[in-house]
Amino acid sequence: MSLLHAAIMAPFIFAVLVPLIYKFTKRIHTGWFVLPVPVILFVYFLSKISSVQQGETILTSIPWIPSLGIDFTVYLDGLSLLFALLITGIGLLVVLYSVYYMDKNKEAIHRFYVYLLLFMGAMLGVVLSDNVMVLYGFWELTSISSFLLIAFWYSRERSRYGALKSMLITVFGGLAMFSGFLMLSVMSGTMSVREIIAQVPDITDHTLFIPAMLMVLLGAFTKSAQFPFHIWLPDAMEAPTPVSAYLHSATMVKAGLYLVARFSPVFAGNAQWFWLVTAVGLTTLIYGSIRAIKQTDLKALLAFSTISQLGLIMSLLGLGSAAAFYSGSPDSLIYTKATTAAIFHLINHATFKGALFMVVGIVDHETGTRDIRKLGGLMALMPISFTVAAIGAFSMAGLPPFNGFLSKEMFFTAVLHATEMDFWNVQTWGVLIPVVAWIASVFTFLYSMILVFKTFTGKLQLGKLEKKPHEAPLGMLISPVILASLAVVFGLFPNLLSYSLIEPAMAAIMPNMLAPGEKFLVNIEFWHGWTTEIFMTIGIIILGTILYKLYGKLRVLNQPLFKRVTFNRIYDRGLALFEQGSNKLTRGYMTGSLRHYMIYIFGFMILILGYALAYSGGIKINASEYAPISFYEAVVIIVLILAVLALPFVRNRLVAIILTGMSGYMVTLFFVLFRAPDLALTQMVVETVSVMLFLLCFYHLPKLKKEQVRLRFKWTNALISIGVGVIVTLIALGVTSGGRMFEPISDYFLKESYTSAGGKNVVNVILVDFRGFDTMLEITVLGIAALGIYALIKIDPGNEILGQR
């Protein structure tokens, strides 16, 4: 048990305590009691920066299921530390914000904080776990706590829909990832991420390597809302705004990015990884940015912008993976710049997107709406919120002097380098990469401007607002102001981050690039001269501004196109089809008709036994071993067969009963002929009693009606029954013709019957002496049948059941 374990477990333990605290301190907002948890954790992780910067890592383990190789191992390196700081840092700001956002009298805030703490602990577990199974466990826990948080206002239908959707999609990806982890552990024989990385040269050629890569990527893409699995994120906006800010912009959706970065040392350097990660990232980037400009709901706009930015980071991680291909040569350092940009933008996105969500929450809180068409002219009323929103949006658009500007420039650098790659067929399609990136950036600029200017400038429409807008309380503003200031600070002094966080994180993502003791030297310059990237940014600003001016006309053009292509419709229709399909299938074969079920059973029996007989050489007739047949036996057989064959055609039930009895007596005669006196006696008595029983109830049963079935049905029945008869005959012949596989044990019974058991009737001795246990249970069966019959006849529940029908 180390401090790191304690750090992961602390939110869980505290989550247990929250309901108690809530119950006994009703006057004070529970959020204040929750706040110390992320604060302490944040400070703890801050204190680790200097040691991690020196290249030190922490690795401790608690045995959990050692026999399966599953141990609760935690590992802290640059990448984990970066994420842990994001989770706890944004976490504390979100808790602070939620204290003012969530009304303690109207909302069930104890549940809110339990779920939030569960999520925080799970997320810390994801980024700090070294064991893939433990990582998977925490991963699913983030899905579950996210599900609970999205459906926090569970009485709303939209919330439940969004929660279910996100659950289905992320758990689908989670399970795929689980199978990927299993394949990795099968290939490498270990469940520790670090040990898997150590074995990479041995497993690259394994047949499971590519499937494992695809499965792990599926998990990452669904969690990080990549195309086409992005559809859950906009619907998750039904969650309370602090949740959207925390989970669906800064932390959970980055779990997929973490996964890609964490497994880069395993998979990077392969063309499939490069192309998948890059192409999916770029598709998401441009698709998200186009969809964002059409949204009228502020949170939906932010959701699509999050999708788009996540795609940007994902594509940068893909471009950065090219470095592993060139491992060792100086060329590779060019491509590492993409990874640097990815990490830098990951931090930047957390700051400005968190701030933007919080501002949108404030606007919602103070005006009662998030609809852009109803908002406008809030600048004078809410100056602080406007400032924060402007900083966030300009940073998102990539304007100087904010941090988004720097990461966008680095992004362009990376995509421009991509065109120079001359491997993996990049030269054919690589030209598209910067083009797509540039167009997506124009759209990003456009929706950022829509976000700020449509909300805060223009005409104030007081009539459409539910409340009279005014500036939010100070407490609510603290968190977004801090995040916005960070966006400015990181923009002006980017090297604050590069030395402390980015270099160690790069070392974690690309461990093979470094000789022991070496460090990446990342130096992000604020101003880097008149380069292509700058002109690209200027182009964005010019084109973006023109588009913004034309926006009113463009929107009309865009609407029908967007309505035609939507993945939500595919998801909804798909879900409905699955439901209808399985319903139809079940209704199709679960008909409730006994006859159908018997047909399935007998049909399956014919198929399986027929197959087995045909392919094992079981069909044989060897007449040489057969006993001869006498005239008397022939007569009995013929009578039996005739009596039995007549049965289906009989309509009178008395005749049917007599024919059945007749077949029973013929069986008795067989027992006589085949030297089985005890059997003959028993069979005769049993058959007599059976026939008597049939006749006893004969009076009470209805006449055997003519079977009102269609001819086709009769033929199915006949086919199935003939099939069963043939199969049984073949089995009987096969058994009697094969010769014995071993001698029967009957010689023992015959020899020992008198000497050991003192009886000359061997069958009776077997029944009560050698195998007396069977007989005891058979007596029990008869007893139970008798009791059952007695109960059926005597116990009369009255007509209640009938009356209900």
């Binding site: 409730g592 008709s593 006859r595 018997m598 007449a623 057969y626 047949i629 022939a634 039996l640 039995v644 064959l645 049965l647 289906p648 049917a656 059945t660 077949s663 029973g664 069986v667 067989f670 030297r675 089985a676 028993t682 069979q683 009693v689 059976s690 029983l693 049939f694 109830c697 209805p702 055997l704 009606k705 009102q708 079935v709 029945n717 029954s721 069963v724 008869g725 049984v728 005959t729 009987a732 012949l733 058994v735 009697t736 029967p744 009957s746 015959l750 019957s753 000359k760 061997v762 069958v763 077997i766 029944l767 007989t775 058979e778 069966v781 008869l782 049948a785 008798a786 019959i789 059941i801």
Partner: protein, 112 residues
């Protein structure tokens, strides 16, 4: 002999299955008793027929037929008798309460 016995067993099974697939409860019960006859004869046949005297040591014969299948069949006869009689009373009670012996009419509710 075994060949003809196998055919007779096949006929017993075929007709038994055919009766089980019909609608009337009475026919179904008759079908089950035919199938149990078939099983008993199958047990007897697969142990080889007519290899000696009845398994009574007083016979003083050279060889006896196999006593073990006979013991098994005896147990089976009694058990199937118990089960058949229970079925019969069950069918009788079901007819008394529900007023039909048609299996198609005894189907469950649509949405169950």
């Amino acid at each position: 002999m075994e060949l003809y016995m196998s055919i007779a067993i096949g006929v017993l099974f075929a007709v038994g299955v055919y009766l089980i697939l019909s609608k009337s409860i009475l026919r179904i019960i008759l079908g089950t008793s035919l199938i149990s006859h078939g099983v008993h004869l199958l047990l007897l046949t697969t142990a080889k027929l007519k290899t000696g005297a009845a398994p009574l040591l007083g016979e003083q014969a050279e060889t006896y037929v196999d006593p073990l299948p006979q013991a098994l069949i005896l147990t089976s006869i009694v058990i199937s008798f118990g089960v058949t009689s229970f079925f019969f009373v069950l069918a009788y009670k079901a007819y008394q309460r529900l007023g039909t012996d048609d299996m198609e009419e005894l189907r469950g509710e649509e949405d169950e």
